[in-house]
Amino acid sequence: MPHGTPAPNLRQHDYRRTLATVSHTAAILDQTVPFPGAEAPSRQYDIDANGIRIAIHEWGDADAPPMLAVHGGFDFARTFDLFAPRLAAGGWRVVSWDQRGHGDSGHAELYSWDADMRDALAVFDHVGRGGPLPVVGHSKGGALMTQLADAQPFRFTGLVNMDGIPYKRNIPDIAEHERSKMMAKDIASWLDHRRRTSDLQRKPGTIDELAQRRGRMNPRLEVEWLRRLVTTGGFESEDGWRWKIDSSMRFGGFGPPRPEWTLMRLPGLPMPFLGILGSEMEEMGWGTPPKKVLPYMPLQGRCEVLEGVGHFVHVEQPQLVADLVLDFFGGLK
């Protein structure tokens, strides 16, 4: 086909229709598992982010000043059901969104760090209308926002990063040929996965079964909370519950960027910065030792280390972390 002419088969399946139907059904039946202190968003709607449907979730008074909350990888906005209402109670309109492929947002053909950043900008533009915003991000959401704060500081009044500060992994001292074998295995495994994804579906199960699977990645979180996550981040079909997240996505991967490159951006951040780290290392965390991060704090930055708390600081200690965030942003309001 000559350059510049329309190509056939431009668009693939419209996953939106399926998910929209499922979301509608879930809303009618409201099978959400209750959890003490957890609240569903006050408002939910979609925006179009350059062709990708992004689901927005808001807690608090619609006229209150906005604060963005950015979830981590393999999470979704409703994982803030415990944390966001506490921020909203402090007088904020808390706005979160499901990243592409996660939660109720559209399943894209491609996923990348830059694409997530582009979707985030659409939300910033929608909520901030060109003005700066207070932002809190967890895990991958914290790392994304740290990089964006470095690239576009004018969009931030301040940044809270909850256990999302990547650090160089401590890989055991192994021989070079062993390292090559590990990389070969990782790449082959990723490519094998890609060969299967065109007709791959997430495994169905009961609420308890999905909660149990999730528990392997989130061993510190209460079972009832994990059960709630199934009913907010999953959907029920004839053969059981499935997670909404795109089945083509998987943990890990490979590529040239290195985790420590995000860390290098921290010292130069010009806006007020608060890091909140859990001292307990977990599977889904970055494995960042707090003492390694402290030297990288920006001039207007500080870091709180929560002893005995894991990667999901805002789920394990929602009130404590919300109080830290409210106190931090209170002075900026």
Binding site: H3, G4, R11, Q12, E109, D114, A115, A184, L191
Partner: protein, 222 residues
């Protein structure tokens, strides 16, 4: 020329059969185009000496392949494209292997494929072409932006995102090492380019990489 469709996740890739095999016992040659290009209408003159089938792949967002919504391109995604083509072609190959011939960006992807699927790639030939330089070799002050949706190829997101894709030399070299470790060939990579950006100079310096003219590379891997 015939075109078949190969599925890679949600993308339909166009695989162009540019010429049937002259010798049925010879393995296929997979052409990988440069950034912003597409598979040519017929086999280029400089590869017609190849005795096996000559096949060209349109990468995601290029030629007749699917244009994704909202970008998200990486070289690793294109490696997945090339791997989908490999899976289709090894079934037609007399010895279950293919040789890869890449221009520009396609040369980089071909090298990755030679490392990732070393036992199925009988040599990767790297030639000058669009997108050979790639992006920076380390962290930079990045810009983030959005573009209006496109329904024509090449996808503008592909041009921008793949044009600035990171290529640290040590990362690229690891694919050479994987190719050497997994290939029956002592020298499974041939650098035939005139231009040698930093990452490619690092590749050319590696043990197991040939620095030869194109005709010699084709003859060696035939």
């Amino acid at each position: 020329m015939s075109v078949t469709s190969v599925r890679h996740n949600k993308i339909d890739l166009a695989l162009h059969q540019l010429r049937a095999a002259i010798d049925e016992t010879a393995r296929p040659l997979l052409l990988l185009h440069g950034l912003g290009e597409h598979t040519p209408a017929e086999a280029p003159a400089w590869v017609t000496s190849w005795q096996g089938a000559i096949v060209g792949l349109d990468f995601t967002g290029h030629g007749n392949s699917t244009i994704p919504s909202g970008g998200g391109y990486t070289a690793e995604l294109l490696l997945g494209d090339a791997d989908a083509a490999l899976a289709a072609l090894v079934e037609q190959s007399p010895d279950g292997m293919i040789t890869v011939f890449g221009r520009g960006l396609g040369a980089y992807i071909g090298l990755q494929l030679a490392g990732a699927r070393a036992s199925q790639v009988h040599g990767a030939i790297m030639l000058d072409g669009p997108g050979l330089a790639g992006g920076p070799t380390g962290p930079t002050s990045q810009s983030f932006f959005s573009l209006p949706p496109s329904n024509t190829t090449p996808d503008p997101y592909a041009l921008v995102e793949l044009g600035r894709d990171l290529r640290p030399p040590d990362y690229v070299r690891s694919f050479v090492q994987l190719a050497i470790a997994g290939s029956k060939l002592e020298e499974p990579v041939a650098v035939c380019t005139v231009f040698r950006p930093e990452w490619l100079a690092a590749v050319a310096d590696e043990h197991g990489v040939m620095d030869v003219p194109l005709a010699e590379a084709l003859e060696t891997f035939a």
